[in-house]
Symmetry: C2
Subunit: 456 residues, 2 copies
């Protein structure tokens, strides 16, 4: 008996989507090649989720003390050493890179450090300097990620106006920082540098902070950040953002000028899908504008015959765990282990700054049925003197369709909320579950059991 040679899976991009796809492909018996031009881990590990969490955690004591000091329950000073924090971050990332490389090797995955120069039917063309290699595939998974958005006039210039990557590498906090964009990245970085002593100005053209979230969540975010001393201004149009005399100069519509040592542009993400030959292979794009050319995918995450697109590059959900989930599905689909459409259940989203936010399911719209509870009655939030915010449940036909929360430790509720939404819990189920006391999750329970009402 001879066994047929293993089917060849090529994965492009070693962020959460590609890395998990490669491992799942190998586990399914495919011969896997993983192509990555830069560092393992993609945006999430190197310039996104993980460095921001490191900076948030290592500066947390500043805020914990400030909350106590404001209540006159403690005194003192906490001075984070940003250079040391960055050195530690490098070590942690390097250790993670090594661990990932070892895991790939152990799984028998070939790692090719190269650019994807192009694609043709059944072949990925790579280039590393002058070296090129054509790598044949039976299935290709594109996990190309995304890149920071910019617009004419609001664009990093490498001087005082910067993108997220250099800001996350600062070894010294600027005395003042302007942030354009109040999404997850802008909010988290505002928290980090506020804790590090910078005067932070945060602007967004959208009418509220965290514009993707519930307007009442945004209200709490604005209230908390302003109390902390962050100058948070939603609904403000930027005229221009430039470096002048080595400093950032932000001009707002109407003429007001804000200057700062540095500025961060964090106004969303663009597609990173420019791959020669991809369209000729049959790939289609969700939008014709080049910056919005997310790869269109079918129910099996395929963008062309035998070519999958997972993670940010398909524009579905720009979150690391969504990418990983899609990557695993695509690899298993390529191996014949998944036959049905990709149906992952609800995808939680978290903001880890101050205040924290989490959401699973849709934002409640006017007319929807909701119930809610405030953190002010929660003994854990009370003990931390951090009682702003609430949890809110969105109901459809008497079942939980969404949960959002803003406030102390809200991110810790996200997995629980994902389970409740994915199972469409009833009020009776919530009543029957014994929640640990005291716990922040009790505010989720109180929201589940709160008075049902129609959102105004």
């Amino acid at each position: 008996m001879t066994s047929s040679p293993a089917r060849r899976l090529v994965v492009v991009g070693a962020g959460p989507g590609g890395y998990e796809a490669a491992l799942a492909g190998a586990a399914a018996g495919l011969a896997v090649t993983l192509i990555e031009r830069g560092k393992l881990g993609g945006t999430c590990l190197n310039w996104g989720c993980i460095p921001t969490k490191h900076l948030l955690a290592t500066t947390l004591a500043v805020e914990t003390l400030a909350a106590q000091a404001k209540q006159k329950l403690a005194s003192g000073t906490v001075t984070p050493d940003l250079a040391a924090i960055q050195a530690k971050k490098k070590k942690l990332l390097a250790a993670t890179h090594s661990a990932m490389a070892a895991t790939l090797q152990k799984a028998g995955i070939r790692l090719v450090t190269a650019n994807l120069a192009g694609v043709s039917t059944g072949v990925a063309h790579t280039a590393a300097g002058s070296e090129t290699e054509d790598i044949p595939f039976d299935s290709l998974i594109l996990a190309l990620g995304s890149r920071a958005a910019s617009f004419p006039g609001v664009k990093p210039d490498g001087q005082a106006v910067l993108g997220v990557a250099p800001v996350l590498d600062f070894t010294e906090a600027p005395e003042s920082l302007v942030i354009v964009g109040a999404g997850a990245i802008g909010l988290e970085i505002a928290t980090i540098f506020h804790r590090l002593g910078a005067k932070v100005t945060l602007v967004d053209a959208a009418p509220r902070l965290a514009p993707a979230e519930d307007p009442d969540v945004a209200k709490v975010v604005a209230q908390v950040m302003r109390r902390q001393g962050i100058d948070a201004r939603p609904g403000v149009k930027v005229e221009s953002l430039v470096t002048e005399n080595g400093r950032a100069r932000l001009t707002l519509a109407g003429g007001e000028v804000v200057t700062a040592d540095k500025a961060l542009v964090a106004i969303g993400r663009f597609a990173a899908t420019v791959v020669p030959g991809l369209a000729e292979c049959g790939a289609t794009f969700a939008d014709t504008a080049p910056n919005r050319a997310w790869l269109a995918t079918d129910a099996a995450l395929q963008t062309a015959p035998d070519i999958y697109a997972v993670g940010d590059c398909n524009g579905r959900v720009l979150l690391a765990h969504a990418a990983a989930s899609q990557g695993v599905y695509a690899a298993r689909h390529a191996a014949g282990l998944e036959k049905g459409p990709y149906a992952p259940g609800p995808i939680p989203g978290c903001y880890y700054g101050s205040p924290e936010i989490m959401r699973v399911g849709a934002v409640a719209a006017p007319g929807d049925t909701i119930s809610e509870a405030a953190f002010v009655a929660n003994p854990i939030a009370q003990a931390h003197a951090d009682t702003a915010g609430f949890a809110r449940v969105l109901w459809k036909d008497g079942k939980v369709a969404g949960i959002t929360a803003v406030g102390h430790g809200a991110s810790t509720m996200a997995t629980l909320a994902t389970v409740l939404v994915s199972q469409a819990w009833t009020r009776e189920q919530a009543e029957a579950l014994v929640f640990p006391h005291p716990g922040l999750d009790e505010t989720v329970k109180a929201a589940l059991l709160g008075e049902m009402k129609t959102k105004a």
Copy 2:
């Protein structure tokens, strides 16, 4: 049409069990009288869960800074003001007492501030000073709580050797503190006063700290506490603990003597069930020793005809949320709304000191099937420089039967774990759920998907 008069429910004890029973009874249409001799909220609110959480939260910045300083990522000092923290605690408790009283009043519940002097068939006899009142009932719910255990030679004397209540009211931290008993209370108080600068010595006769928990959990607790500088000594028998010259003097079996400014006795709980007439009404006790005379209860939580016992006093599970769950059931059973036996599903348990512990379901025994994951690979734990510990899953017939965790933020996983255990999740369900990244809960997922093995 005339309606028959409402059935009369008398509840004794306004801790979590009695308070929730009273509210559930009123919601079910019963005419409710709640008898409480002291403060609303019982041990949990006044001398247990809530004050310890307040002290843990208000001293947390000390430890957060210490963890960063140890890594040379921050410098500074944090000095909690214990007198101010206690004043704040009093305010918070007073506000909670008022809110509870208002809730009772709004629900039409009569609150009687008196001792329960005795019980006879259909009547609760109360006494407040020289005032007595006989309160007739159709159903009686006893939520009598428990009291701190002591033994000859290891007993608070009101001088330097104290019970938990006065220690939680200290307005000045002792320079040194001996704690006898390494259960949840002893461990949490060790963390609190260590943060407040006391030299803490913690002893327990049991062979490990947190003796009710998994031995491998106990190992992590011992390792973390010793690294912090707490002198934690399980497996040590106490010969005597007395006040001598105003200081606590602990003599261990073998003769070693430890002296300290103060000592805490936290060696468990005794039954608080001495009620004249109760046995004559038909109540039975789980044990004949007076200190262990927990009220025996049947499947409907009845200890005698029309008399329920809920919470600590029945000795089932000495946790506030267990009491509340039982109280609600008993009141609804008394109202005819519950017909089946009391079957609450799994009851989570948490320790909120440092390190945190949580457990749902049984401790894994040798021969059981388990899977696990360490926090060292978790990016949130890494970011907090707090990577000791692990999550462990106990499996029965390929389904989740228990989850325990020790380490950074372990208590935040308890509700999620309760859902997974109550639903007896399979590995496939865990694989299908998209967990938020990065999150501490990912260590629970890694444990769920870890290699199955037999516990040694």
